[in-house]
């Protein structure tokens, strides 16, 4: 029964997969190992566990006000994610449910705006924030992203799968439009919200260019900015940078794993 050619094919497939997974895991391995080595050892290419982990962590905490910076990043990412999901999902829902010629045009125009690169918006946006007195203020980072065209588009697409019958039934039961949204739509679309949360949280957590431009003092900086400023200089301490990078990666991993379970839950819920 066992075809030798088939076996060979399988073996080859697995070989390629193993090599590919090693390649993708290696940077993480290198990151973890690097955090335990001194900068000088990292430069020499040492790839086994060293004894400098505690030193690196202590230096990181000594050089950077870690709790404050961490709080800044968390505050921005959580607030922005919450507000973005609220505003953009409402908009996406409305564009799909309450259609009209004019709204289609507006939506088309918005999609076109997706093609404008941020670099072109940066300086006008900075001037605007300057006039609002929001330079060096976390609100300057949170506010511009709340009405996210991409997330609006995403929710509009997802809303197409939202059963009209549910809406009709809710209306017959006497629910108002906003009640339909919060009590019917929101729970049903849990999986969509979970996926959007991952996307928006990651975008905000990793956001670099705009916070860099608009934040001016050390006490306002986010973790991404701190990692970048550690990397500067004529003699960067790579051990500390590795530790900082681990700190910057952890929340994303946690969010992902937590929401991944929700994600599956949501899928099961919608099948029932």
């Amino acid at each position: 029964m066992k075809n030798p050619l088939y076996l060979l094919q399988r073996a080859l497939t697995y070989l390629v997969l193993i090599v590919a997974s090693l390649l993708s895991v290696f940077p993480f391995f290198w990151l973890l190992v690097g955090a335990t080595n001194t900068s000088a050892d990292i430069i020499k290419g040492k790839a086994d566990i060293g004894g400098a982990l505690i030193d690196n962590i202590l230096t990181f905490f000594e050089r950077v006000d870690v709790p404050l910076v961490f709080w800044n990043s968390i505050y921005i990412a959580v607030t922005a994610t919450f507000l973005t999901l609220l505003v953009s999902s409402l908009a996406g829902y409305a564009f799909e449910i309450f259609r009209s010629q004019v709204r289609e045009r507006i939506f088309g125009g918005m999609l076109l705006m997706l093609s404008i690169p941020f670099a072109a918006l940066m300086i006008p946006l900075f001037t605007m924030m300057g006039r609002l007195g929001l330079i060096n203020n976390h609100l300057a980072i949170i506010l511009p992203g709340i009405a996210s065209i991409f997330i609006i588009f995403y929710f509009r697409q997802a809303t197409k799968a939202f059963p009209r019958e549910l809406r009709d039934a809710a209306r017959i039961d006497g629910l108002k439009e906003w009640q339909i949204f919060f009590y019917i739509y929101l729970p049903v679309m849990r999986s969509t919200y979970a996926a959007a949360t991952i996307i928006v949280f990651m975008l905000n957590w990793n956001n670099y260019l705009w916070p860099l431009i608009v934040l001016q003092t050390n006490d306002k900086k986010t973790l991404t900015l701190v990692v970048s400023s550690l990397l500067s200089g004529y003699y960067p301490d790579f051990g500390v940078i590795m530790v900082a990078t681990i700190f910057a990666t952890l929340p994303i991993l946690i969010i992902f794993f937590v929401l991944q379970r929700r994600f599956v839950e949501g899928m099961l819920g919608s099948i029932k």
């Binding site: 919450f82 940066m122 006008p124 003092t217 200089g233």
Partner: protein, 423 residues
């Protein structure tokens, strides 16, 4: 169900409240703000300077904000372009190669300092690069005065002493490299093959640049440039170096002892000294000379200077601070040389004890005296505003030259690319 909604309302309310509390915090008044990019280097020297100034001026406070170097540049560029001065610092550190770009692109944004600060106290090339229309705009900070950093033990094994490395040409360097590899098995240099820094070193050592004084492209027909590129092509085609890619790879080659040395700016000292087990095994010689009339053994790579913004809220205080410490305090320069390896450009500083001392790490050579002598000999050039663009054009041709490409053709290509980008 209504309970659930109340919960949501409370949450929205709390978020809004949190946001408005945050909006109320504002910057501290009366503080001199500085933007720089290396907390261990220029940031640390700035704090030391501030501590000295505060001894006589108890009210003086400083806020040193560090970003990555490219980040400082981007922030400054974006903010000056937006025309919003709100949130700009009082003092900013700018890399020398980019000075003219800022000075010429944003006229009026920087404060002329020639009146307040006696620029004749600094190395002339540093003052020249930050001058525009007869005004000088900077307080010079560190120099990138260049040297040939080498392993004394490897070179001794190959039969070369300190004296044999004085007044050599690039072709002699190739011969030395061949001998070192034959006798010790080590390559002579670590070379980042994507970096055109060495061409900049060679050009400035002969007093020339990619651009003329009045900003015209000076590449095709620039005999010194051709000599420099030709000399480097011969090095690239020899087998005396280890090709590396990126900073980590480049520094790793000599930090690990694999390679016998490198030719670069004095700021590499901190990286070299980070390997204390190699103490006493390093030395510094002058860089080789290109075969061109008027060429020297002295050049520069990198370096940066302090600038005061015209919009600075604490302008008078910032200038006085720079004047009292950065433009006069000889002791201060001794301290930052020892603590941060920062090689300042105040000429008087060389008479201080730290500059006079010989360095045990560098085999007891009087390296700091040597560097100060070379510093004074660096030919002044005008870096213009498009050095970065020209660098990219040169870097693109280096692999071609390495593979035996025609020198004149490469120069033609570089010239065309620079003109296309900048005219």
């Amino acid at each position: 169900m209504p309970n659930k909604l109340n919960g949501l309302r409370t949450l929205v309310g709390a978020a809004t409240l949190g946001a408005s509390v945050l909006a109320m915090t504002s910057a501290l008044a009366g503080e001199v703000t500085v933007w720089c990019w290396d907390p261990n280097f220029n940031g640390a020297t700035m704090l030391e300077a501030a501590a000295r100034y505060a001894a006589d001026h108890p009210d003086f406070t400083i806020n040193v904000v560090d970003f990555a170097k490219a980040d400082v540049e981007q922030k400054l560029q974006a903010q000056l372009a937006s025309g919003t001065t709100d949130g700009l610092p009082d003092i900013v550190l700018i890399e020398d190669y980019r000075a003219q770009k800022y000075l010429q692109s944003f006229p009026g944004s920087f404060e002329p300092l020639g009146g307040a600060i006696d620029t004749s106290k600094f190395a002339p090339y540093k003052v020249e690069l930050a001058s525009l229309n007869g005004q000088s705009y900077s307080v010079p900070f560190d120099s990138g005065v260049t040297g040939f950093f080498y392993r004394t033990d490897y070179l001794a094994d190959a039969g070369y002493s300190e004296a044999d490395l004085q007044d050599i040409t690039w072709d002699q360097l190739i011969e030395i490299g061949k001998a070192v590899e034959a006798k010790t098995g080590h390559k002579l240099l670590s070379v980042d093959i994507n970096d055109s820094g060495i061409i900049r070193i060679m050009m400035q050592s002969a007093g020339t640049w990619y651009f003329t004084e009045d900003g015209q492209v000076n590449i095709e027909g620039n005999a010194a440039f051709k000599t420099a590129l030709g000399a480097w092509q011969r090095v690239l085609q020899s087998d005396i170096y280890k090709p590396t890619s990126g900073w980590t790879d480049y520094t790793g080659a000599f930090a690990s002892g694999e390679v016998a040395g490198t030719i670069t700016g004095v700021w590499i000292t901190a990286t070299i000294k980070a390997n204390p087990e190699l103490a006493g095994k390093w030395g510094v010689a002058p860089i080789p000379k290109i075969d061109f009339e008027g060429a020297t053994h002295a050049s520069n790579l990198g370096g940066s200077s302090w600038y005061v913004l015209a919009s600075a809220p604490q302008k008078a205080e910032a200038i006085d601070f720079l004047k009292e410490i950065w433009a006069s305090d000889v002791d201060f320069y001794q301290k930052i040389l020892i603590d941060q390896g920062a090689f300042g450009t105040l000429t008087e500083a060389r008479n201080g004890p730290a500059f006079q001392a010989s360095d045990a790490f560098f085999s007891g050579q009087p390296v700091w005296q040597n560097f100060t002598s070379w510093l004074a000999e660096i030919p002044g050039v005008n870096y213009g505003i498009f050095t970065e663009e020209a660098d990219t054009a040169v870097a693109a041709q280096l692999p071609v030259l390495k593979d035996g490409g025609d020198l004149d053709e490469a120069i033609k290509q570089i010239d065309a690319q620079v003109k296309q980008q900048t005219m």
